[in-house]
């Protein structure tokens, strides 16, 4: 049974902290994980947890309903993504595997999701795009933000965002046309 996280539901959960946190996490964690994965973050799950550790204590103070909450969540995710990219650009970080810290008991859900998403193919698709074009598309399609919200998060004007998404689509179309022409 699923229930849509609406403005009314948010108001109803106000004051019940544990339930509110769980609802926000369930509603947005998958999207944040998808956004971070699409942006090529080295450890999307860990960064997702960091994002919600920062977001959840301030959920009560967010105004603007679900839309405002969405903007806030993805602005934090965007900032963490930028941090991760800077970290990667400085020095690729390699973590040694520590079994004690690996809390994953089953990878079946992820494997199913990955098979369904076919991330390798999508990532190859996204690799066609420039970084800011990729950012615009993930923010608009994966995060489901409007042009205004994406422009606010990226710190650009609405016209610049529209221009970026137009060029991104053109680049994707050319790529898909070339692929169709070559593949058969």
């Amino acid at each position: 049974m699923t229930d849509a996280l609406t403005d009314a539901a948010l108001r109803a959960l106000r004051g019940r902290e544990a339930e509110l946190f769980s609802a926000v996490y369930q509603a947005f964690a998958g999207q944040v994980l998808g956004y971070l994965t699409g942006k090529g973050v080295s450890d999307p799950e860990a960064v997702t947890q960091e994002v919600f550790l920062a977001v959840l204590p301030r959920v009560e103070s967010i105004t603007g309903g679900v839309s405002g909450l969405r903007t806030f969540v993805f602005s934090v995710a965007h900032a963490r993504m930028v941090d991760d990219h800077r970290r990667q650009s400085r020095a690729p970080e390699h973590h040694e595997f520590e079994p004690d810290r690996d809390t994953r008991q089953s990878s079946s859900a992820e494997a199913e999701a990955m098979e369904r998403v076919a991330p390798g193919e999508v990532m190859a698709l996204l690799d066609v795009l420039r970084e800011d074009q990729r950012e615009v598309l993930t923010l608009r399609i994966v995060a489901g933000l409007t042009v205004d919200q994406a422009a606010e998060i990226m710190g650009k004007s609405q016209g610049a965002v529209k221009q970026l998404q137009r060029r991104a689509l053109n680049a994707l179309r050319e790529h898909s046309v070339v692929k169709e022409y070559v593949a058969p």
Binding site: S22, Q31, Y35, P44, F52, E180
Partner: protein, 290 residues
């Protein structure tokens, strides 16, 4: 079980809007690509880590991490442990370590330096327990060369008062010891032999001397007193020679001998203080020193 989802947006509508804005309405391949991108949004929520799980539900961890996500809203009990600031990831731990690294290194260096200095000070006893015996024995017989003049090192005798009293006898006593010592050793044979021989062969000589002696001492006898007189006067006639001898003996005392002998002389002077006047010994010492 209640699962929350965010259905307030229609991503298909967003994709249509995007393609419409770009003027690409007849591009099915592009639409498929965008829908593949859309599938990123339907990824399952990751399993919360320890800190996040505590923040989400508190004690709901009994059902296991996977089930916790779904059951948390129902059975979650807030424990109030929401302000746990432990670093959750390896990066956080490293950052915390890096933050305190200078302080840790500084403390370690200071501790090591302190231990080293303390060890050196403890191992080398130095003269802390007093001057060693061999050093005492080395120093005991040594007197610095510049102690010849300073009167402060001259024995603590009442030197300040003594010169007033004993200045006069000093020049008289100075030749006396030399004159007394010399006849005993060197002039004694001469004095012993001549009195026995001289009176008989040299009858003129005493007679030549006699008038003077008679003038000086009319009351004394002529024969007997002469011998002691001559004996007594010979040293006077030889006194320059005696002085020469003492003058010769002085240079023989090199400065080194003098330094070595000074303590001995000082000791002798102390010992003779009872018999001789202090002024005499002091004057003699100063004479030697010059």
């Amino acid at each position: 079980m209640m699962r929350w989802d965010c259905k307030d947006i229609d991503r298909d509508a967003i994709i249509r809007e995007l393609m419409l804005e770009a003027g690409l309405t007849d591009a099915p391949a592009l639409a498929d690509s965008l829908k593949a991108l859309e599938s990123f949004a339907s990824m399952p929520a990751p399993v919360p880590g320890p800190a996040l799980a505590a923040m989400l539900a508190g004690t709901a961890a009994a059902a296991g991490p996977v089930a916790e996500v779904g059951t948390a809203p129902g059975i979650g009990i807030a424990t109030g442990d929401l302000t746990d600031e432990r670093p959750v990831d390896e990066l956080g731990k490293r950052r915390q370590l890096r933050k305190h690294r200078p302080a840790v290194i500084g403390a370690a260096v200071l501790t090591a330096m302190g231990l080293g200095i303390g060890g050196v000070a403890a191992s080398s006893s130095g003269f802390s327990k007093g001057t060693p015996d061999f050093m005492q024995s080395l120093i005991s017989g040594w007197a610095p060369g510049w102690t010849t003049a300073p009167p402060s090192l001259v024995p603590p005798a009442p030197a300040g008062d003594s010169p007033k009293v004993t200045t006069h006898p000093a020049p008289v006593d100075l030749p006396a010891p030399a004159a007394e010592q010399e006849p005993v050793i060197a002039a004694a044979p001469e004095a012993a032999v001549p009195p026995a021989v001289e009176p008989s062969p040299d009858a003129v000589a005493p007679s030549a001397v006699e008038p003077i002696e008679a003038k000086d001492s009319p009351s004394q006898g002529a024969g007997r007193p002469e011998v002691p007189k001559t004996v007594h006067t010979e040293p006077k006639a030889d006194s320059p020679g005696v002085f020469k001898q003492t003058a010769d003996t002085l240079p023989k005392w090199g400065s080194k001998d003098f330094r070595d002998g000074l303590p001995q002389v000082l000791q002798d002077g102390k010992a003779d203080l009872a018999g001789k006047s202090q002024g005499a010994s002091l004057r003699w010492l100063f004479g030697l020193a010059r």
